[in-house]
């Protein structure tokens, strides 16, 4: 177990480096200049040159290395070792200035939101996305597993068909439809909850439900499949023969095995859910992370694109690791 964790953590920086290179390579191909605002005004050529030099946008490799230098902590370490950081600190103190905050992992400025650094943007939006994502996964797991078990208990019954139809709808209906319906139903028609602002934890419910539907549907199908397979297995027959109640067979014996595929799905699903959904965030005006995946690309905000992709990649790796660890712990057969 320790070896698994250590090995994965060693892999993490390598994975991130590969993803960084690929992302920057692709993002660099986006046409136009990230410093260009889409209204019709264009600053003089020398101003553009000066800005490009400042953000190292003049060449791919200078941007590649300088970003890596800043974001990886290498620059921080170097300045610390060489004593530059210390000298700068003294100079700033002598000039009577508060020290400009040196970040160990400096993700750079946002080119679109001039007043915010990428790290601040992520710090402000990730908690919101995490809250909604976790709530959505929670709802999806409870609803999905319940529906799957109910369907598998009596395959072919009306209940089974019903959950199948609901699952189908959950997978096929896009978020913006279910979300809009919920918005019109609750805040607009019934006056429950608010639109356009996050007034309290209660306002997280509707977006979380919207976000949970496709996950719930998929989990329901996974559970049903696993359950049906498990119910025809020998150990279930033994349990029945032993006189375990039908409920006990379903929940204590069959679900234990049928739950494993669901668990392995929960890793990537959670990573996906907690990094936000563009549609759900836009619809419910939530300040989450998902919007940046789309907007940053449209604006060619290079620092932000890389920042959010790195966060997503890190979460994906860590959550997959968490799932693997849980797996071994729940099912000792996996070594």
């Amino acid at each position: 177990m320790i070896r698994l964790i250590a090995w994965r953590l060693v892999q993490l920086p390598i994975i991130l480096l590969v993803i960084y290179s690929a992302t920057l390579f692709l993002a660099w191909q986006i046409p136009g200049s990230p410093l260009d605002t889409p209204d019709a005004r264009r600053p003089p050529e020398e101003v553009i040159r000066a800005m490009e030099a400042q953000y190292k946008l003049d060449s791919f490799w200078s941007f590649y290395w300088s970003y890596l230098d800043n974001a990886s902590g290498v620059r921080y370490a170097r300045e610390w070792v060489s004593g530059d950081a210390e000298r700068e600190r003294e100079a700033a103190l002598a000039a009577g200035k508060p020290l400009l905050q040196r970040r160990m992992f400096d993700l750079g400025p946002s080119l679109q939101y001039d007043d915010w650094r990428v790290s601040e943007i992520i710090a402000a939006s990730l908690p919101v996305s995490v809250a909604i994502g976790c709530l959505a996964i929670l709802v999806a797991t409870v609803v999905g597993v319940a529906a799957g078990v109910a369907g598998a208990a009596r395959p072919g019954s009306a209940l089974d068909a019903g959950t199948f139809v609901v699952a189908l709808v959950g997978v096929s209906l896009p978020n913006f439809v279910t979300g809009t319906v919920l918005l019109i139903l609750f805040p607009v028609a019934l006056g429950w909850g608010s639109i356009g602002r996050l007034a309290g934890p209660g306002d997280l419910v509707l977006p979380a439900v919207t976000l949970s539907l496709p996950f719930a549907a998929y989990i329901a199908r996974l559970t049903r499949m696993g359950m049906i397979e498990a119910l025809s297995a020998d150990y279930v027959r033994t349990a029945r023969a032993k006189g375990v109640s039908p409920r006990g067979v379903l929940l204590r014996h069959a679900l234990k095995n049928a739950g494993l595929p669901v668990l392995s799905y929960l890793g990537p699903a959670t990573a996906l859910a907690v990094t936000g959904s563009f549609v759900v965030e836009r619809l419910f005006s939530l300040p989450g992370l998902g919007q940046h995946f789309v907007n940053a690309v449209l604006n060619k905000d290079l620092f932000l694109i890389i920042g959010v992709v790195m966060v997503f990649a890190t979460l994906l790796v860590l959550l997959n690791l968490a799932v693997d660890v849980l797996y071994r712990w729940i099912d000792p057969r996996i070594g």
Binding site: P44, P98, Q112, S194, I195, S285
Partner: protein
């Protein structure tokens, strides 16, 4: 079994933790959805309209725009008086003694010098550095600094040189003091020397880019980098509680993509001008959610309404006017502004949608260069062809059947009524016969011999519909073949810059109250002359207008220059003037300016009849004073 439940319990715990971290948004006197979001509150890096609306509330310049005057006049702000030298080169501003920052400190001439120096640094992302170059020595200063920075970085080659970096910065400050024409003989006098006479310089003083930031705080977040010599800055100071401002409001809260809260600045010199104690701007980006937020009364003003059904809403308002037609006509003939008219009509939910002309024009560019990017001869280099194409576009159809949002057909670049004392030329009439004749004269009778015309535009925003209508007009009326090419906005911008198009979509919004803010793009040496249009005659008229001191004569020269562009040479064909559609209840909210300049100041908002903590009586709505018929121009 309980082992399986563990992940769920973990997730639930995490959720509760995060949920507790979420404090609710505060309530405020006025709630505004200001387009989507603010990008920056740093005046020297600003370029978005929605940012300027907030900047106008937070900061104050030497002069202010009176948004409720018929002429959108510039009135004294921080400067209580000023005088201009005989040759029009030296402006001496006298600052008022009671102008204060939100921390109680007086606003000084030095604050302006600091801010303008900052605006002139290549270290910052300032789109408007060009405007500052009207000041003597400013262009030279900018170039010098950019050059020095380049040298510094090359010499350091990655090594830290803190001493040299500080020296370069000290030298920069010294150079600014010595060579740039902004001087402060005492704390309350600012003397500005210009490179050449600029008739609209006072208008610029009311433009937010020239407003001051609070040096003592901003400076603390700037520091020359030891490696590059560049001023490294942290925008930390634009956040509460650090941001110090000198306008009607101060910044109380700003949460990224959540909300921004402004509260009354107790130190502002003109408290009578503030009508609300607090203004909240939640960040809502989805157009439908914006409208729903307004309809559920969460929001008092939606500044930019974009969903397609705005056309239906405007049609309903028109129906409302029809129901009260006689009264409406009577009020209109009294010369009341549109919001004032609405207030005098009976309450009705249909009144809440408004469409005001905006300080912007939608047009199509023609490439005027002799050869196309692929080397072929450019048939559009002939002004007659451009004129023919311009004459046969049915703009009325575009406005009435496609846009349907209360916009008007454009003949000129400058929207009429937006700039005082300036009447733009009429432009070309819709004339299919005349267009055909002109095209035949140019050697392409019935469109024969004319190569396929490529029309470039960007996706979304309904630009495709306009392009299709234009294609149909050209094909049906002139017999030419047209190909539509759709690209992403960033690609389009790149193509425009490189003149890589035949015909392309364009638009322009003005910044300050002078025709040059629109007309300069046609100067042959202008950086935004995407069309490659060169006219010695136009340039000459513009140059003469620069030198002309008599306002009436100057406006006439500019009018002549614009007429060359929109009646004879047609490097571009104006299609319509933008208008913006917004939602607010005229019986509740006051402070939204209906003026054609459409530069709003969020700081002017107030709820009618509400008493503010400032201790004044209930607030009566602000309206444009009625101008006696025929007495428009002073």
């Amino acid at each position: 079994m309980w082992k399986l439940l563990l992940p769920l319990v973990l997730v639930a715990m995490l959720l509760v933790g995060v949920g507790l971290m979420e404090p609710a948004s505060p309530r405020a006197d006025v709630v505004v959805i200001n387009r989507g979001d603010c990008n920056t509150l740093d005046l020297q890096q600003m370029s978005w309209l929605q940012d300027y609306r907030v900047a106008a509330a937070l900061y104050e310049g030497l002069l202010n725009s009176d948004r409720f005057s018929a002429e959108f006049s510039s009135v004294p702000g921080v400067a209580e008086s000023w005088n201009i030298s005989e040759d029009g080169l030296v402006y001496t501003f006298k600052l008022r003694g009671d102008a204060k920052w939100s921390n109680g400190k007086p606003v000084t001439a030095e604050d302006f010098r600091y801010s303008w120096r900052r605006a002139l640094l290549p270290d910052l992302k300032n789109d408007y550095a060009t405007l500052f170059r009207l000041i003597q020595g400013a262009g030279e200063f900018y170039r010098w600094r950019a050059e020095e920075l380049k040298k510094f970085e090359a010499e350091s080659a990655g090594a830290a040189r803190p001493v040299e970096a500080r020296k370069l910065w000290a030298e920069t400050v010294r150079r600014f003091d010595e060579t740039v024409g902004v001087r402060a003989p005492d704390a309350r006098t600012l003397v500005v020397t210009l490179e050449r006479p600029v008739a609209y310089f006072l208008e610029l003083m009311a433009f937010e880019s020239f407003f001051p930031v609070y040096g003592p705080v901003v400076e603390r977040y700037e520091q020359p980098s030891a490696v590059t010599g560049r001023l490294e800055f942290s925008s930390q100071w634009t956040r509460p509680p650090l941001l110090v401002s000198n306008g009607k409001f101060r910044l109380e809260g700003w949460r990224f993509k959540r909300d921004m809260l402004l509260v009354r600045n107790e130190h502002y010199w003109n408290q009578a001008d503030i009508h609300a104690d607090s203004i909240l701007m939640p960040s809502v980006s989805d157009p439908n959610a914006q409208v729903m937020a307004f309809q559920t009364r969460t929001v008092d003003w939606l500044t930019d309404m974009v969903p397609d059904y705005r056309a239906e809403m405007l049609a309903e308002k028109e129906a409302f006017y029809r129901e009260h037609w006689d009264e409406y006509q009577k009020l209109k003939s009294q010369g009341l502004d549109p919001v004032a008219i609405d207030r005098r009509l009976p309450p009705d939910p249909r009144k809440r949608v408004h469409s005001f002309p905006t300080f912007g024009t939608y047009w199509y560019n023609f490439n005027c260069l002799p050869a196309l990017p692929d080397g072929r001869t450019n048939p559009l280099a002939d002004a007659r062809v451009r004129r023919a194409l311009s004459m046969v576009i049915d703009k009325r159809n575009m406005v009435e059947n496609i846009r349907r949002s209360g916009e008007t057909v454009a003949g000129s670049i400058v929207p009429p009524g937006s700039i005082r004392r300036y009447t733009p030329p009429k432009g070309l009439e819709y004339d299919v016969e005349g267009g055909r004749k002109l095209l035949a004269e140019a050697g392409f009778p019935g469109g024969k011999g004319l190569p396929e015309i490529e029309v470039l535009f960007n996706r979304d925003g309904g630009h495709d519909l306009i392009a299709q209508a234009m294609k149909r007009d050209w094909e049906m009326n002139l017999g030419v073949t047209v190909r539509l090419v759709q690209k992403e906005i960033k690609v389009l911008r790149n193509d425009l810059k490189n003149h890589n198009f035949m015909v392309s979509r364009g638009s322009w919004f003005g910044d300050y109250g002078d025709p040059t803010t629109f007309l300069d793009v046609n100067r042959s040496d202008d950086n935004n002359n995407d069309r490659g249009y060169v006219s010695a005659e136009f340039d000459e008229l513009m140059k003469r207008s620069d030198a002309e001191r008599e306002p009436a004569k100057r406006m006439e020269l500019l009018r002549e220059a614009e007429a060359i562009v929109v009646e004879r040479d047609m490097p571009l064909v104006p299609l319509f003037y933008f208008s913006s559609t917004m939602l607010f209840d005229p019986d509740k909210l006051s402070g939204v300016s209906p003026h054609a300049r459409q530069k709003q100041d969020i700081g002017l908002l107030g709820v009618i009849g509400q008493k503010t903590a400032g201790g004044r009586g209930p607030f009566a709505p602000r309206e444009v004073p009625v101008v006696p018929a025929g007495g428009g121009a002073r």
